[in-house]
């Protein structure tokens, strides 16, 4: 048995995960960027991105995603996303109101660069949701370890 097999799930799961995880990640980005044109948006896209990381962790047994994205950095990214969203809302105050769509011209309806600040807000939400959801997942894993240690 290879050393890789000691953690996580079977070889089939690992291979499939390795093939698909990048696609899932890209699909999440697609959903975010087209949030103002098609169903979906920052929240759904953020969840999909978080799921791609969770998928890695589940298939390979814990430590893999920690190299890319630690629990500390999820907190930082989450706070950044929230602050970005709030900043966009507050900049609107300069132009006539809270959450005012201040980017003029708005662009062509149906075009990728359109709808003013809505795509930017989608990106902010996706950072917040993706990092938040992955942070919740990591927290629950840490708690589980804490719990199994205390039982011993």
């Amino acid at each position: 048995m290879s050393k890789e097999h000691e953690h996580g799930m079977s070889l089939i799961v690992k291979t499939v995960t390795r093939l698909t995880v990048g696609l899932i990640f890209l699909y999440g980005i697609y959903i975010i960027l087209h949030g103002h044109l098609t169903p979906g948006g920052g929240f759904a896209g953020g969840v999909i991105i978080a799921l791609s990381f969770i998928n890695l962790d589940l298939a390979f047994g814990g430590k893999v995603s920690a190299g890319i994205f630690s629990k500390e950095s999820t907190g930082v990214v989450e706070a950044l996303g929230a602050l970005m969203f709030l900043a966009l809302a507050l900049i609107g105050l300069q132009y006539g109101g809270f959450f005012d769509n201040f980017l003029h011209p708005d662009g062509e309806p149906g075009g990728l660069v359109s709808a003013g600040i809505i795509p930017l807000e989608n990106i902010a939400i996706s950072l917040k949701v993706g990092a938040g959801l992955f942070g919740i997942f990591l927290t629950l894993i840490v708690l589980q370890k804490f719990e199994s240690e205390s039982k011993q």
């Binding site: 709030l86 006539g96 809270f98």
Partner: protein, 499 residues
């Protein structure tokens, strides 16, 4: 125009403070500074709006995201509105004032716990939620902010992560979660019946109905149960006596002083009085529940030995008084209710902060183990005395005047039995208040407490300020002050549902 557009800052500033704290948690002192500054700017903002309201005497309405122009096109309000009227400002002042003092207090107090930044983040999120509940003019937005504040408070109750804290937090989270579902269900029913979520629109639609459909009674029930659970009125109070003592003292002060009022009492008053026009059935139910709350809270408080648990039961009883004032429904009753709400915020947060100070110095909350602390901790015992006298309703402390107004209103509205019951229960209140002062602060000093010291200055200052509010709070009734603070708030409620 300018002042309308900064209404969202009530939510945005604490929110920004919360996430900046999470971002800059490593920098020494930043979480403390951000926590204090954000709540202080909330207080400054509410004073600013109070002054402006004085000059203009209008209701400020803001259309979030500049959707106001669509109103003519669509024939109805599009998007979320934020509304600031007299009642809102009154509540905003109380919430932000108490939050600021509590933030100052917790700078020293929370050094006992690890991960202080998490405390400040959650605290500011809770403050953002409460401010949001107060300024919003939209039903669903109300629900969202109620949830923001609630979830932050669940986490804060379990902040100590001991057995008790976790258990209390779980109990609170489950009951609070069910309450939120009931509120949401009520909002859905209302939306399907009226086709709008805006409170002003909803009121217009509801008042145009000649016959009230049976559905509306279901909504009353759902809202009473949901917001009643958040306000801890008696059949729904089970979470409070566990949650309040388990939380760290500053959070107990916030929960008891402002959270149950912003999420429970304010929401009940706002929904039932301004939106529904205060139907008679609801006022009768409120009166009954208020009477039961007053009795149960006071009588159970008598037999408690845990100082914070006693204060928690006392909160249930005092919320009963506030509800009694609203239930009477006359302008005088509403004024009494609001005045008592103000006083309760001051003396109950003061007493919880005092209990925290005692715990900080002695390490215990059991009053049987205390005694003679007055000599060692003059500021704490003095402020406790002021708060306790206000709670007991001893003249000339603030609590006396508000209880008097409520009782007079009850007599005027021919609720003689309720008035007598309120008087009786305030005598019981005196009894349990005396228990606190007698066992904790008077008597012999124990051997093991020989070396205790007064709490640090940052904890003393909020205690002193709140104690002064308890002593001089009665000045709110002086006509000049009343016209600024109480009367506009009363006018908002009495115009809509006054009998």
């Amino acid at each position: 125009m300018i002042s309308e557009s900064i209404v969202p800052l009530f939510v945005a500033v604490p929110l920004a403070g919360a996430f900046l704290t999470a971002l800059l948690k490593r920098v020494r002192g930043i979480p403390d500074i951000l926590g204090v500054m954000s709540s202080f700017s909330g207080f400054v903002l509410s004073v600013f709006f109070l002054v402006r309201m004085q000059a203009e005497r209008t209701v400020l309405v803001l259309n979030v995201g500049n959707w106001g122009g669509f109103q003519e096109v669509m024939g109805r309000i599009v998007g979320i509105q934020m509304v600031v009227d007299g009642f809102t400002i009154f509540m905003l002042l109380i919430v932000n004032f108490v939050a600021f003092l509590v933030a100052v207090y917790s700078v020293s107090y929370m050094t006992r716990y690890t991960d202080k930044w998490q405390f400040h983040t959650l605290f500011l999120l809770m403050l953002a939620g409460m401010n949001g509940v107060l300024v919003t003019g939209d039903m669903f937005n109300l629900f969202v902010f109620v949830e923001v504040a609630s979830i932050a408070s669940y986490a804060l109750v379990g902040f100590g992560t001991g057995k008790r804290e976790l258990e209390a937090s779980f109990k609170y989270a489950v009951m609070g979660g069910v309450a939120s579902l009931l509120i949401l269900l009520g909002i859905i029913f209302l939306y399907s019946a009226t086709g709008t979520l805006n409170m002003g629109d909803m009121k217009t639609v509801l008042s145009e109905w000649s016959v009230q459909p049976a559905l509306i009674y279901l909504v009353f029930g759902l809202f009473l149960a949901g917001f009643g659970l958040k306000a801890a009125i008696v059949p729904f109070h089970a979470w409070l006596p566990d949650a309040h003592p388990s939380a760290p003292a500053p959070i107990s002060a916030m929960l008891s002083g402002v959270l149950i009022k912003a999420l429970g009492v304010y929401a009940i008053a706002r929904v039932f009085i301004t939106v529904f026009g205060f139907p008679r059935q609801v006022s009768i139910i409120l009166l009954v529940l208020a009477a039961i709350s007053m009795g149960v809270g006071a009588l159970v408080a008598l037999r408690q030995w845990d100082m914070k648990r006693l204060l928690a039961y006392s909160s249930i009883s005092q919320v009963g008084y506030i509800m009694l004032g609203f239930g009477i429904g006359t302008p005088l009753g509403i004024m009494g209710a609001l005045f008592h709400l103000f006083n309760h915020s001051m003396f109950k947060s003061l007493l919880f902060l005092d209990s925290g100070a005692v715990e900080y110095a002695t390490g215990t909350r059991n009053m049987k183990e205390m005694g003679g602390l007055a000599r060692k901790m003059p500021v704490t015992s003095g402020s406790t005395l002021a708060g306790a006298m206000s709670l007991a309703g001893i003249p000339p402390f603030a609590g006396f005047w508000s209880k008097l107004v409520i009782i007079v209103a009850a007599v005027q509205a021919h609720h003689m039995k309720l008035a007598a019951w309120a008087v009786l229960m305030s005598i019981v209140t005196i009894a349990y208040v005396l228990k606190v002062t007698r066992f904790a602060f008077l008597g012999e000093l124990r051997e093991k407490f020989r070396d205790i010291r007064e709490v640090p200055a940052l904890m003393r200052i909020p205690l002193i300020i709140l104690a002064l509010m308890c002593i001089f709070g009665g000045l709110l009734l002086v006509p000049q002050v009343r016209d600024v603070l109480l009367s506009p708030a009363v006018r908002v409620l009495a115009e809509n549902g006054g009998m």
